[in-house]
Amino acid sequence: MDQRPEPYAHWLRLVGYTAATAGVLMGISVLIAWWGEIDTVKSIMPGFATMKPNTALAFAAAGVSIGAAVRGGAFHESRRAPSRTARGAAAVVAIVGGATVLEYLAGVDLGIDQLLAVDDGPAAIYPGRMAPATAAGFALLGAALLTMHVRTASGRRPTQWLILPVAANGYLATLGYLYDVESLYRVAPFGSMAVHTALLFVVLSVGFLCVAPDNAVARLLIGQGAGSLLARRLLPAVTFAPPLVGWIRLAGERAGHYGLPFGLALFATSNVVIFAALVWWTARAVQRADDDRAVAMRELESANAALERSNEELNRFAYVASHDLVAPLRSVHGFLELLQTEYARQLDERARGWITRSMEGAKRMQVLIHDLLSYARLDATGAPWVPVPLDDVLHEACRHLDRSIAESACSVTADPLPVVLGDRTQILQLVQNLLANALTYRGDAVPSVHVSSQRIGDECTCRIRDNGIGIAAEHHEEIFQLFRRLHGRTTYPGTGIGLAVCRRIVTRHGGRIWVESAPGEGSTFAFTLPASTDRTA
């Protein structure tokens, strides 16, 4: 059911769910640990800071919020506000974080610190209260989750950047634990951020980025270009490799295996090796993608050249056909005409009839060649698009058809028509062909044609309604095909090209053409054309 234009998009979904699950599970586990007095879950290592009950609650809520946002389709329709669950849970996160920040800043005790469980750990200034950095992290995370669908007029999403300090904060505190640097996870004299709190902030920040696939980071990660490939391969390594190498170096140094200079050399060499390998691997992939693109480009260029050649050939063919096919036909017709006029007395009725038929055949073929050429030339003779008032076009078409309009005593009426955008000659031909059809396929009643139009957005739909013989539904599509005729030549004249020309003209203008009709009930031919914007109303 899901439309996934990017092949890596489902990874984002997976990571989002994983982060959400981690938040929920860890939050609930820690809460249970508080109620069940399980110290290892509260602080992971003896002597480390505990994750406070409110922190656990906020993590569980953040996990629910991210999970609901991923599930609720914020992922695919990022303009949509997150679901009620997602927003409710995000509000919990923001309130817990915000209230605690308020407590620190205003120096008040709102009585929320030990609401869920009593902190009976080592004496602290504020028992049960999370670290200031943790509180700030939740306030920002909650705000980011609540406002992630907000966009500026230019489509940017400024609130997504709220997550950056959260991620940096968690990352720094994690490093503090890894390297045993207390100042990175503790702002004296207040309590410390727990080690699993720090890690969860990093995990949830990553999860947050996965909720909205059109944020800058996620878009880069799931894209298909060379830049995305680079980001996918390098970003995780850049984030995690140096701290790990640094930790190994520090551990070795502290264990007394080597001194500072050797440690630094080890650190530098390891990073160089890791990144050189990574860059080599990535560069090769980018190079391959580049080569593929160059090949595709060449193929495109040659296809384009072939197309231009064939277009040129079509033009040449059209010209040759217009002259070389018509010239002999003209001779045939001319001599037959001479036979008919000069030798009328020597010929009997039968012979004169045959001559007349031959002349009609030649004449028909000339019309056919002419119509076929005008069809073939449609693409080649495209003029630049200009605003075309349909009123003018209709008047001109009527003027060209005034003889058949007068002969059939047809009444042509029209609503005020809009200005469309296109090739004027072709639009005139379109309207004239449809009008001519309405006159040709008339029924027993006095023919009447009405033209109306409707503008929807950037598009005008024009309808030409007649009271003619109508068309059965099964023919509604095929009548637009080249040479497709529903009636014998003797019943209704025509070459079967007119509607094919109409369809080609409309298609060239990015529109559609169709017919609404039933036998005996007249036909309405409708087509769409781009509306002109500079309508002087």
């Binding site: 217009s322 070389d324 003209r330 001319g334």
Partner: protein, 162 residues
């Protein structure tokens, strides 16, 4: 003003046309025209230019009053012939009427850019073709002032111009 009609000489027309059927039809149409016409026919570009240059050099030869030029000629096309006539100082005063089946916009423009006198598309029906030919010939016989009636005798220097 002196026109052919006023001096009673037939209009000397050079028809440049390669297709025998077209030549025949044009002959028949010219015969039905009201103007008195003496028609000479050549079938390709080279013989057309050769004929015109010979006539230009030979004072005794009857002057050509009008060229009816088909565009679709073998070898060099009709436009080439038109260009050769209009760029030749000895021939450039000749009225050249394009008479062709083509109504392609680029050919019409090209012909006028080479300064043809007019561009006429042959109608499909013979009856209408006769009418068109009649009016064209009548115009050059009774209305237009022909350069061939106002020429000084050709000098040796002009004869050697090309």
């Amino acid at each position: 003003m002196t026109t052919l009609a006023s001096i009673g000489r037939p209009l000397n027309v050079l028809l440049v046309e390669d297709d025998a059927d077209d030549v025949e039809l044009t002959r028949l149409a010219v015969a039905r025209a009201t103007s008195r016409v003496s028609l000479h026919v050549v079938g390709d570009a080279e013989s057309c230019l050769a004929f015109l240059r010979r006539a230009a050099e030979d004072a005794a030869a009857p002057p050509t009053d009008l060229v009816l030029l088909d565009l679709n000629l073998p070898g060099h096309g009709g436009l080439h012939v038109l260009g050769a006539i209009t760029s030749d100082p000895a021939l450039c005063q000749l009225p050249v009427v394009i008479l062709t089946t083509s109504s392609a916009a680029h050919e019409i423009l090209a012909a006028y850019r080479l300064r043809c006198s007019s561009y006429v598309t042959k109608p499909f029906d013979f009856e209408r073709f006769v009418a068109v030919i009649d009016r064209v010939l009548d115009y050059w016989t009774t209305i237009a002032a022909l350069p061939s009636l106002h020429e000084e005798t050709p000098t040796a220097s002009r004869g050697n111009a090309r």
